[in-house]
Structures are given as C-alpha cells and as structure tokens.
Subunit: 323 residues, 4 copies
Amino acid sequence: MPEEQIRHYLTDKRNWGRWGDDDQRGTLNLLTHATRLAALSAVRSGEVLSLSRPIPTWVGSGNALPAQHYLKVAHSGGENLHSRPADERVAGSATDYYGLPYHGVATTHLDALSHVWDADGMYNGKSPEENITFDGVTFGGIEQWSTGIFARAVLLDVPAHRGVDYVEEGEPVTGAELEEVAREQGASIEPGDAICVYSGRERWQAAHPDLPYGRYPTLTNSSNGRQHFRKPGLDASCLTFIRDHDISALAWDMLDATPYDYDIPYAVHGAIHAYGLALIDNALLEELATACADRGHYDFLLVVAPLVVLGGTGSPVNPLAII
Amino acid sequence: MPEEQIRHYLTDKRNWGRWGDDDQRGTLNLLTHATRLAALSAVRSGEVLSLSRPIPTWVGSGNALPAQHYLKVAHSGGENLHSRPADERVAGSATDYYGLPYHGVATTHLDALSHVWDADGMYNGKSPEENITFDGVTFGGIEQWSTGIFARAVLLDVPAHRGVDYVEEGEPVTGAELEEVAREQGASIEPGDAICVYSGRERWQAAHPDLPYGRYPTLTNSSNGRQHFRKPGLDASCLTFIRDHDISALAWDMLDATPYDYDIPYAVHGAIHAYGLALIDNALLEELATACADRGHYDFLLVVAPLVVLGGTGSPVNPLAII
Amino acid sequence: MPEEQIRHYLTDKRNWGRWGDDDQRGTLNLLTHATRLAALSAVRSGEVLSLSRPIPTWVGSGNALPAQHYLKVAHSGGENLHSRPADERVAGSATDYYGLPYHGVATTHLDALSHVWDADGMYNGKSPEENITFDGVTFGGIEQWSTGIFARAVLLDVPAHRGVDYVEEGEPVTGAELEEVAREQGASIEPGDAICVYSGRERWQAAHPDLPYGRYPTLTNSSNGRQHFRKPGLDASCLTFIRDHDISALAWDMLDATPYDYDIPYAVHGAIHAYGLALIDNALLEELATACADRGHYDFLLVVAPLVVLGGTGSPVNPLAII
Amino acid sequence: MPEEQIRHYLTDKRNWGRWGDDDQRGTLNLLTHATRLAALSAVRSGEVLSLSRPIPTWVGSGNALPAQHYLKVAHSGGENLHSRPADERVAGSATDYYGLPYHGVATTHLDALSHVWDADGMYNGKSPEENITFDGVTFGGIEQWSTGIFARAVLLDVPAHRGVDYVEEGEPVTGAELEEVAREQGASIEPGDAICVYSGRERWQAAHPDLPYGRYPTLTNSSNGRQHFRKPGLDASCLTFIRDHDISALAWDMLDATPYDYDIPYAVHGAIHAYGLALIDNALLEELATACADRGHYDFLLVVAPLVVLGGTGSPVNPLAII
C-alpha cells in the first residue's frame, strides 16, 4: 500500500473530535448498553479461555525487563516458616509483590490512549508536553477505561488462511489479507466489534528459540535500537481494516512487523492516537484459534478489565474469551 | 455464635477433598459452562460498573504500602520531552511501571488459595512449608484461576438493611444478618453464586478521616500489630452463610471485623483454606448498591480476571458488574 | 533572626558562580588533595563507626515509604531450598532486591544538588524545567560526587550543650547556638570541614513513640500536607553557620524544624541550591556523640560514598566516621 | 592445579571457627584499629578514585536485570513542573526511586557471607535452610559489616603483566600468576590487606560488543543456564593466593572464569563460605591501574561502605581508592 494512503488513514481519517474534543474513551465509545446485550449472544457453550500469557518473570535474553515477583510470609508464631516441623505448624499467610514494567513485547497488556503520539500530538490532538507528568498522565489515562471492554469479538486466524504455522518475518499481515481471512471464515464484522488477530506467535518463538520476539540486534546498539527492532507481525495497511470496520479493540499476539518501510513513527500502533483504538498487545490466541476452528464459529464474548491506575498509560490484563 | 460452631464450620464443614485431593480451584469448581450461560440472564440493561478502587499510590498514614507508579518517556528526537516547543514536536511514547504490594486493606484484589493457612495447613490440607517458595507458591497459585470468575452475583446491602450509612466498629455483620438482608431484598441465592457484601466502607472512611481502615493503633506496636488491627466489618459467623449457600466468590468492601472474639487465626478469611473460597477484598460497592436499589434487582453478572502470575498468592483486579 | 537576613543568606551570599558557572560539585570543591591528607590526622584510634540507620524496611505509621527487601534463592538441585533435609544439602545462593525510595525522613542519604530549587532555580541558577527529566537529572546528578566525601569532620552535640536528652519541638537549633556548641567543645572548624549536628533524634523518637518524626498530621490532609509536616530540628538561621564557616557537608539526625516561621520554601535544605552544600539526612549520631565526649575530641575522618546513579537526585549512604 | 588441591583449599583450609563458631565477620576480623591506622600511610597524594561502575539502568541484551531509576517531582505550585514558564517558576524538589537487583555481573557490589553456600553449609558451617528467610538472612547479613572496609589495598594488574589489553576467555588468571604479578610490581602483601585484581574487563567488553559479560548462550537455555554462563576471569586456583596471604577483601572487575573445569559449585566465590572473604564484584579498576602504574605505587587506602540492610545478602557499593 502506498505511503500516502497510510498517511491518509493516519491523518485524514482520524477519529479526532468524533466523540467530542475532550473525549478520552476513543473507540470504546462504540461499546454501548446495546452492543453489550448483543454480545451475550456470542456465548454458545459457556466455556472460558484466558488470552493472557503468564506474567513474564523469567530472566534471559528474550525478556529485557522481567516482571518482579517476590514473596513475604507472615507467621503467627513470629518465626521463620521453615523453622518448626510441620506437625507443630501454626497459622500464617503468604503475600507477594508484583513489579510490572508491562509495556513492550512480553506482557499481555492494554495500551491507554496516552501511550503514543506523533508530531500532531496525542489522540484528539492533545499535547504530550502538558499531559505527561511525573505523577501520571492527565489525558488518556487507563482509568478512563475503568469499565473495561465487554464486546463481541471475532478471531482472525492468519496462519490457517495461509496454510502455515505462523507468520514469518518479511511476510507481514496486510489489511487486504485480513479482509480475506474474515471472508473465508464467514465471520461478519460489525461496527464496534473487537478483533483478535492470530499470527502464530508462540509457534514462531518455539521454531526460533534463539530469536527473541522484538529483539535488539546486538549489544552495541541496544541503547538506541528502536529502528532496529526486528519482529514479524502486521503491516501498517491493517489500519484500513481497523478504520473501515470501526473496530473497537484489537488483541494480537504478534504486533507491528518491524522494521517497516514507511517513514512513520508508529504503524498499527498509530491507531491509538489516530482512532483512539484500544490495543491489547501480546495476547495468547493459539488455544482460542483452535477452539474457533473446532466449533466453526469465530465470534465470542471478549472481556478485558484493566487495573484502575489513575494516570496510567495502560495496564497488564488477562483478557477472557467466553465462547 | 459460639466459638465451637465457628470451629465446626472451619473444620468439619471444610471442602477438602470435595473436588479431589489435589484440587486447586476450590469454590470456582462451582462455576460451570451451565452456570455461565445462566449468568447471562442476570444482565438486564447492558450497563457496566467497575468495582475497583483506584490503585492506591498515595502516600500517607492510611496506606502502609503505597503502590508505585513511575513513568518513562521515549522520544524519537532523543531528547527530553520538554526540551523543544510543541510546534516542533516529534513522536514519542510514555510507558509506566506499577509496583504492587496489593494484599492488605487498600487495593481491590483477589486472594489465591495459597494466601492463608492455619495449623491444619492450606486448602485441601496442603503443606505451606513445602509449597511456599522464594519463586512463588507451588500449590494454589493464582494461575489456577486464570480463566477468572464469570458468575451470577448478588449484592447484599447491609447499611440499607440497618437504615444507616455504614457498618460501625463494634457492630459487625453476622451470618444471620446476611440471611435477613437476602430475604428482605428478595434476592434468591443459588449454589455457585457470588455475593458482594456492601458495608459502606467509603462512607465510613469519609466520616472518620483520621482513622485509617485496618489501622495500626500506635507507632510503638506497628511492627507486630496483627492482633491489634482495628476495623469494622464482618463477623466469623458469616462463614455459615458462605458455606450453607455454597457461595463461589465473596467480594466485600469492609473485610473481617478486627479484633475478633474467637481464638482463631482467621475469621471470614478462613474460608480460603477451609472452603477454597475466592475472596475479592476491598471492592468498591457503593455505586453498585445504588444501582441495585434503583433497579430493584440485586443480581447481575460479575467478571473478575486476575493477572496470570505463576505461583502468585493473588492478584489486583478490576471486577466488573454487568447489570 | 529576621527573615530579611535569612533571605540575605539564601540569595546574596549564594555560591553561584564561585567555582564556575557550570560547576556541579558545589561545596565539595572545598575538598582537595591537601584537605584529604590533612583529614588523616583526625584519625586517632583507628576505630570506625557507622553513621547509618538501618535501611527502613518496616511497615507502619512512621515510615510512609518503606524500603523493599526481597530475596530469591537459587539452588543447584533445582528445587525449593527447604524441600530436602539438611544432610542432603546441595550448593545454593541467596540474592536480594532492594527498592529504595530513600529521600524523606527515614533513610540515611546524601542529597544531590538537583534535589531542591526555589524560584531562582537550582544551584548555580540552572533550570529545573530543562534538567529534570524522566531519565534522571541532567545537572547536579549524584554521579558528580562519585568520588564521595573524604573530609575532616566535627561533631556538634546540641543536647549535651543544652543539658537535655534531645531537641524538642518548638525549640529549634539556631546558628548562634551552633557557634556556642563549637566554642564550648573547643572544636575548631576550618573551611572545608564537614559538620555532624547531633540533636538526639533516636532518643526523641523513643520518648515519643506515637509521633513519627516528620509526620503528616492527619489522614485527611496527607495528600497535600507539606506545610503541615511537624518535626523538631534546626532553624533556618543555621544557614549562617554553614556559610560563614564554609562547611563542605552537613550530616544531621534531625532535619529542618517544621513548620517554620519564614516564608521560604526550604530552610536549611536551601543550602543545597544556595551553596551547593552536601547534605546527609537522617544520620545516626548517638554512638558518635558518646565516643567524642568520652575521648574529648570532636573531630574525626568522615567518609561518604554515594552509589553512582547517573542522573540521580541523591543516594542512600552509610557514612563512616573513623575516629 | 589438581582438583584435589582446590578441594583442600575449600575444605581443609577453611576459616570456620577461626574467629569463633558464631563469628559473622569473616576476614574482616583481620581489620583492626592497628591495620586502619597503618593503612593511612598508603595515602600519598590525597587523590580519590571511585571504583564503581555506574548503576546499570540501561536495558538490553547485556543487562539481564536492569536497575530501576524513576523520578518524582513535587512542586510547591501543585502543578506539573512543565506547566508554567520558567519566569514564573516556583520552588520544587526532585526525588527518585532506585530498584536494585544488584547481584550478578553488572553492578559493583559487596557480597555478604550469606550469599553462597555448598553442601557443607554457609560460612562457619551455618545452615542455609534455617538462616535464609523471607524477611532476610539471620546469619551473615550485610549489617554485620556496617562499619565497612577501611584497609590498605594492593592493585594487581594482570594485563600489564601479560602485556595485553585484557584477559581473554580460555586464559584464566591463576593463583601462581597473581604471585608473579605481585612480585613483578614489587608490591608487598601483608595479612589483612585487600587486593584489587584488574583483568581489563571494560576493554574486553569494548572489544567484544556483542558478547555480554557473563552471558546466557541462547534464548532456549536462559531459564536454566547456570552451567552455561561464559565469561573470562579468575581460576579457582586463586583461592590459594587469597588464603595464603590472608586477604581481607577482594575487589575484581572480571569474576570467576566460567565454565570451569572443576566439579565444584563455586570457584573463587567459594572463598565466601570457606574463608568468610569480603568479595567486591564488578569493580571499575582501569583508572586505578593507570594511576598505580604512573605513580609506581600499587598500594592505597580502600574504603567500602555497604548499605545497612538488616538481613541483606550484600550491597551495591561505591568503593573509594584514596591514593
């Protein structure tokens, strides 16, 4: 797709002002009492699937900022948990601390509208200089979405369409391909629907154990490697699919294919500031893809409930698919 | 209620073995495909309410372990966000770090089955000495509940029943009173239902600005003050209500009334190890209580989606009520 | 002391430009090869005392931002440390994580020159708007003092001078009083010397167990209580002593007496931006005071070695007094 | 050196009981009032050098657990620092949070005696099962060394001895070589001295930009790669040098060469549990090596002041060399 069309979608077709000049809900305005009631019909069996990867606490070359998980134990005897035999056990409790640098390519999370901006500013043209503060953001914070996402959603299975196990580097998913996938699956997509784009990330990683997804190419360039990040995923042309179908939320396992050919700061992530899109990065979609294929139905109820952090730029989440 | 009856409920009526000796799901076993399909009927308007308090980042005497919220800004120009005028803006992104010591009385969170134990052990008789490790718990971790809670729920409004604004210290909510509230509200409670017990905590706090909820009485005793914690809330006799109705999950704004008269390590929290109960502490229930009273319906769909932390003792959550 | 004199010391007598317009070392410029060699003479016995309080990890009403201390254990057997009997022990290691929100009134720490500013700016007139960034400060960072403090120091024992156990609220230490203490102790103070002002803080705290030092007055006002902080300590007039004697560093157990009567944003802490003073807050001085009194010598070698955090606003430290 | 001799040094020549069965100070017992007074003579010029690397906050493939550095800004005007022009500036302060997972190969730090153990236990035969708790260690905590290290130290410059820029993988430094280096430098080493072994680490890293020091070989094995770590450094035979000279503390830039040929859990690090040695990992020694060569003196005063964390397994430090 020509760069000018990408730019057309990122600027002329923006949702700025669509829901008011001070709107902070973006595409979640598309979710209404009516769409929620309608979404109930997408539940057929009552089975629930979690679309969350485990919080990535492991340390190693594919997890640049490991999540922290530490425990404390309180013991009514006052001593160390392990200092008395089990047959003299007393009551106790275990608590933990989670340290979550959740943005990036490892944690399943929801981006808030304050997460990214380009030269024109944040969503709705707001100023990052004024709204990004040391105490949190004052526009587009995740608390604006405290009632979460409760929507009909459709899974789009790209590897099944391609007849492969996963999307490879150099062969990014395009907007036109998403249209084909939807048509092929017989999945109608209504305004306000969420979509889950499955690209086979976990299989890709298993097949490429030495290539961290979203990797820094070398130690040397690691401190300023944004343009060098390499990962398979979706092309900027997917913006057309998102905008034309008035998608409320996108959950994906692979993210923007990088590097990309266009001279734009963000590709699909640009939908955040352009459309006010709710983006759920690093979702775990393989089990859902299998379930959808088995059932022959690709729609379901999606529920996402972000932590209510005042002025937060997003939240780790555990999206639930009720099928 | 006599202490022996409390003990009867904490030991003789335990759910240990009920779902298998190695079961780690506890009362969430009561949630099935069928109960989830049935729960959809509790949605009437499609309105969603968040039952989460804001993540407590504020510093002061009522928040012993403040949550951490820190930001980073990346800027495609390489410089400080504020070092160039807005009309020369370049693209950028804001990310944040959440540090969450979420147990306690401030954060809305779900306790995992590994959170507490008494002399007999954890839920299902498992050993804390073996299962609580520096890398997380090996039994009853929150990942066992990765598919979350998707259940019909009933709100029980104690202040409305009492004709007061909030539950006071010295007047704890009892199991018998919960029965009265349910009867008075005309709310049938079915096995597997979740309940939300509203005690008016936010109003209590507003009326007692100098008394932190769940407070250490003095600086002197703060390091070993467990038995001294003071807070209004629910009496151990509520265990009977929970067990007799086969409740799957309890969300509450006020927690165990402390100190309590019984010589037991945990009162209502004992339902975690005794029954395998899913407990959602520090929920925000005032808006829901008002909505239920206005509508004349006290049941709704409750969705809780904990973060998938392998071996975690719980998770901060944003429970959603779809009414 | 009249407010105009305080203002005179905070503005007219500033050290701005004294060591160059871009100087970032402030009063540590007073430390030279020669002063370090001379400081060796202050070591008489070879005994070392630590002037650091324990890192404040405890949770309670007197420690608004507890330091975090969490452990991990790695075990060559791969299992839990406690899962095999001691007689089958294998090798292992224990590591920990320290989370340090060290500024404030609990942790012994060194303030960097970027820590505070007034309407005229930071030390040397630099701009906080430009120099305080999300990645750290770009002027006056603690790394400017990576070679630390190695200086002759003099203890000033205020309670001994007053014949009391500790300085009380409402009776702050003044600059004139410091002159008296020095004279009374027979301690000459040379340009470039450090001083340790002992006010008996630990005894004060022991005598006032329910009053946290530097406390928020109520829960209500805790979010915006700066002007309400209450603590005994030093008066703004101590600025005259610091400036007139050309002190290189001040270590103190009690900090600024607050609230103060002058309409200035910072009292003794104003010496940071006015003079470029190295300030070591919350030092533990009781043992040193006793040792000095016993020996009849109040001077010694002081060594302070801050962590080298690029762009940090200070560092927790363990100051050593070699007497 | 034959493995049996290594084992001889790790077991038969242990310092267990040497300073009492409950001693927790290990080789720092060798530091006395007398050695500290004597160490003053090693100061010739009064120049100070920091031996600390910057706290490693950068994110990338060579820093598995980045240190955290986050700022907060408080503003007497109550608003965002950047929301008003500089000519209307008000007073403010910047504070920061340091999150320090300091063990490993990136941060300059001091290991406490509780850090490692083998099948025979911790230093002095103490039990890790009993002494490693969720609240910190109860034996060999870093607070046992709160008075720090204040000692005569000798730099040993291995690359200068070899006539190379740095120690390579496959050519580890041996104990015999350290003897040669000392002899060649004409540096007498007295019981109780500290040594700083310079291996040219920073130059090695600059020459091998794609090989993180102490690296995991692949993504695949990163979760269990202890035996696979690869780094140039010191051979286990250096234990003989340490023990025979009764070294009080070892600061080094390169650590144990790994993997090693002996079937032992720790090589030079074994000196911690065997001798009670104070080990300062990841010191920055290049500037000191140059200064020593220029001056023709290899001895100096070393001061190390660990943070006083009760029950901590070590501390990040900024070692100072006063030459």
